[in-house]
């Protein structure tokens, strides 16, 4: 089937089986490989993208569901200007191996839109679906809390 959606600000159209995973369509058809596959079953969050603003695990989404939607991936988050959460993650040391990082940035960006000055606990709740094995989360939490502090937005 032909699926049309807006991806990172551009209208795209893909010819694909309706049950194809959004993650595969992004990675294989659109060659947007910034969204990662860590588990393929909705547990790790490495594949997180935003659909109409909400963070969603793209490995669980049949592509037909995004027909007519606005999809944002990590490639779209940092463009044209680097997002505040990306800058903060860089400065605070929130990325190590980086495989979880795109997903974390997408979840964090969604949180910051709703709550620009979250508490550490609010950040931990918002990121509970994004597994990271490298950082122990402290620097990630600090980065998200600090992203919009001091007028960096």
């Amino acid at each position: 089937m032909i699926v049309r959606f807006n991806c990172n600000g551009s209208d795209v159209q893909v010819d694909t089986p309706p049950m194809a995973r959004l993650l595969d369509v992004l990675r294989e058809d659109l060659r947007l490989v910034g969204s990662k596959e860590g588990c393929g079953e909705g547990e790790c969050g490495a594949c997180t993208v935003r659909i109409d603003g909400a963070p969603v695990m793209s490995c669980l989404v049949p592509v037909a569901q995004v027909d007519g939607c606005r999809v944002q991936t990590i490639e779209g988050l940092g463009s044209p200007a680097t997002h505040a959460v990306q800058t903060a993650m860089l400065m605070f040391g929130g990325a190590q191996c980086g495989i979880c990082t795109p997903g974390i940035c997408m979840s964090a960006a969604a949180l910051l839109e709703e709550n620009p000055h979250p508490t550490a606990e609010a950040v931990r709740v918002a990121l509970a679906g994004n597994l990271c094995r490298c950082t122990g989360y402290q620097k990630v939490v600090d980065a998200v809390c600090g992203a919009l502090a001091g007028g960096a937005s």
Binding site: G38, I74, L90, C97, I99, R124, Y137
Partner: protein, 725 residues
């Protein structure tokens, strides 16, 4: 002065914007996908491997052991592990055959249609029964290695005898990026491998021996975590992808699905540790008798070295006038265990710290007073006879206590039940960790680093990979500082065995300390070399003259071993490590009295890092390792079925800590310099794994009286221990 500051990591923005390419992101044109046919039996004779009828095999290649051109061996320490099973399988999930097809789905389907006929053989699963068992898995007696350490003089003082058994289970590294490797044919008939890995030269050697020729190069892709899990295992994927690429005559990529990665790849060695000690009434430690058993699984991998590190750390950071230690790592018909951050030391120190608490309980001493009484001080001697210079045990203890004096902010939100009855407790544990390879290991490796002038900038050529810990940033910092130039002018090249010298593997907390130290020496050599060529001046002036003169300017430096280090690998006496890191961990947690679930509020760590080259990167290593240790302590449990296969092979049932599970972390970096490391730096990669689990156990005991001596301390076990009080 860039050393001691925290510039943003080099690879940071690429990772944060999704531009970094990991192995599975690579898709050369015409690439096929590989899948592995694995044993469903623990021990069996293979009677036949054939293609099932009714499946379309037209676009599929199938490879078995018969297609291996050179040695059917995964080259590492011993030659016991085949690339593909040859007649016999010795563990469930052992690779038997390989397929490749144009899509991953197609390859996985094909793998399911390869029929293997087995004749089942009896299998051995119990590591305590394996030694000398009539069923033979390895060598004469199923023992990969025995180690004995005898030291000191026995006491004739009146003393209390205290005895305990401590156990630990399997743990999965759980890098978030599954194993992945791409093999491509080169125009000269050779092979290029690009993948997720820690040690390009391990793979280089393994593939060359399997092929029987040298036209191989191995390059690291951006790697999504390793923790030891990508030390030796990727050699298997590399050999497999190579065989498929040759058979299919096109590039082949193998990326494991998470469930396959969990079932098939190496885990932390489980251990059973018996300790018998003699202690005076005042709490002075006199004698340590230790017996360690570890389960290596069906093949040797690195088990010898894991046992070695366990034995060398078993005494903990304490003085023992007499020690008699005996360790065995045995073979069983289970998937091989392998490298995992800490490498045996966490298992050993879990046992020792729990035993210290047992001694305190038994003698009615304060556990902290008991520790203080026996902690290493300058000039004390370890059980290998090594005299310790400036041990940092007291320094980290004091730093941790100072930081832990701040009030704890208990978490309000938590997964699970609201309004349950919770009891809080605090626990403390200490650890030490030998940095770099054991004894004369570095002398054998002779790790190399090369520097090249590129214009007026400097390229660092090494095989030390960045697996998240920050090598891409640390090496340029060290070289820039030594040359007196801006860090922006120094960069690491690709870690490709066709281009870079062998710096030794990225393991054993050695990269910053040993290879980083070699970078510093290489930079000094580069300056000397330029001065010989172009007269006096600072680096900028010299580089300008060199650039004008043209031609390649390259220096290579080999790690020089400290000749004062004496080590006897037969008696296990001498200087076991060039230096030690020290750590103290203080955990504040609450236990749910209805479920036995543990909720972490805060963890304070104080770690002697020698010198924090980049404080942010150093703290990041420690915090990540600490949470991995908390997972090992209370959450992570591998459940095996009757064939020894991991049953909970998904992230829904093998649970690692989430952001919500993770505590607030306060990370103190203590700096007691090691003169052999760059700017005083010591290795820090593994030590955070050592102390947290024991601190958790002590805190649980303080909270609710439950005494636990087995890991993991799952809610069921905590609850049972509460009932048993």
């Amino acid at each position: 002065m860039v050393i001691g500051t925290s510039p943003p990591r080099r690879d940071g923005m690429d990772k944060l914007t999704g531009r970094s390419l990991y192995a599975d992101d690579l898709r050369p044109s015409g690439v096929w996908y590989g899948a592995t046919v694995r044993s469903s039996r623990a021990h069996a004779r293979i009677l036949g491997v054939r293609r099932a009828e009714g499946f379309d095999w037209s676009n599929v290649v199938l490879v078995t052991a018969d297609d291996i051109p050179g040695l059917n061996v995964v080259s590492l320490m011993t030659d016991d592990q085949p690339v593909l099973a040859d007649g016999i399988v010795r563990h469930v999930t052992e690779p038997i055959a390989l397929v490749a097809a144009p899509t991953r789905e197609h390859a996985l389907a094909a793998a399911q249609h390869v029929v293997v006929e087995y004749e089942d053989l009896p299998a051995l699963f119990d590591p305590l029964a394996a030694e000398g068992h009539e069923l033979r898995i390895f060598g004469e007696d199923n023992v990969f290695k025995r180690i004995r350490i005898e030291h000191g003089v026995r006491t004739d003082a009146t003393a209390h005898l205290i005895r305990g058994r401590y156990t630990t289970g399997l743990q999965e590294q759980l890098y978030i990026e599954p194993q992945s490797m791409l093999a491509e044919l080169r125009a000269d008939g050779g092979i290029t491998l690009t993948g997720s890995m820690q040690c390009p030269y391990y793979i280089d050697r393994a593939v060359k021996r399997m092929l029987g020729h040298d036209r191989v190069n191995v390059a690291q892709a951006v790697t999504g975590g390793g923790f030891g899990g990508k030390e030796e295992y990727p050699s298997i994927l590399a050999c497999h992808a190579t065989l498929l690429a040759i058979a299919a005559r096109r590039p082949v990529k193998i990326t494991y699905r998470r469930d396959e990665d969990l079932r098939a790849t190496t885990k932390r060695h489980p251990a059973v540790i018996d300790l018998v000690t003699m202690v005076t009434a005042r709490g002075q430690l006199l004698e340590l008798h230790g017996r360690v058993w570890m389960d290596g699984g069906a093949y040797h991998t690195l088990s010898t070295v894991v046992l070695s590190r366990a034995m060398l750390h078993l005494q903990g950071p304490y003085r023992w006038p007499y020690a008699s230690l005996h360790g065995t790592v045995v073979a069983t018909h289970t998937p091989p265990n392998g490298a995992f951050r800490g490498f045996g030391a966490p298992q050993a120190q879990w046992a020792m710290e729990r035993h210290m608490d047992r001694i305190a309980r038994h003698m009615r001493l304060d556990p902290l007073v008991l520790r203080r009484e026996n902690l290493f001080v300058h000039g004390d001697v370890s059980v290998t006879g090594q005299t310790l210079q400036n041990p940092g045990a007291f320094a980290v203890l004091e730093a941790a206590e100072r930081a832990a004096a701040a009030p704890v902010n208990p978490k309000r939100v938590r997964p699970g039940v609201v309004g349950a009855e919770m009891r809080s407790g605090r626990g403390l544990a200490l650890a030490w960790h030998g940095c770099g390879f054991t004894g004369n290991g570095e002398a054998k490796i002779r790790g190399k680093v090369a520097l090249e002038l590129r214009g007026r900038d400097v390229a660092v050529l090494s095989s030390s990979t960045d697996i998240g810990q920050g090598t891409e940033t640390i090496f340029p910092m060290i070289v820039a500082q030594t040359l007196g130039i801006d860090m922006e002018r120094v960069f690491n090249t690709a870690h490709d065995t066709g281009l870079v010298p062998d710096s030794g593997p990225t393991v054993a907390s050695r990269t910053a300390m040993v290879v980083g130290g070699t970078c510093e020496k290489a930079a000094q050599r580069l300056l000397r070399h330029l001065r010989e060529l172009h007269g006096e001046g600072d680096f900028d002036a010299l580089a300008a003259r060199a650039e004008a003169a043209g031609g390649l300017v390259r220096v290579e430096e080999t790690y020089e071993v400290n000749t004062n280090v004496e080590w006897n690998p037969d008696t296990y006496q001498g200087d076991a490590y060039p230096c030690y890191g020290w750590s103290c961990v203080i955990v504040d947690l609450r236990v749910d009295l209805d479920t036995g679930e543990v909720l972490y509020d805060r963890v304070v760590t104080a770690t002697d890092v020698g010198k924090a080259l980049s404080p942010v990167l150093a703290a990041g290593q420690i915090e990540g390792g600490t949470l991995q240790a908390l997972g090992w302590a209370t959450q992570e449990e591998v459940v095996l079925d009757k064939q020894g296969c991991m049953r909970n092979d998904r992230l829904t049932n093998y649970i690692i800590p989430t952001a919500l599970d993770g505590p607030e972390m306060i990370t103190e970096l203590v700096e007691i310099p090691y003169e052999g490391g760059p700017f005083g730096a010591k290795g820090i990669g593994e030590i955070p794994m050592d102390a947290p689990a024991a601190a958790v156990a002590q805190a649980i005991e303080a909270a609710c009286g439950a005494v636990l001596d087995s890991l993991p301390m799952t809610p069921e076990r905590v609850f049972a221990a509460m009932e048993a009080r």
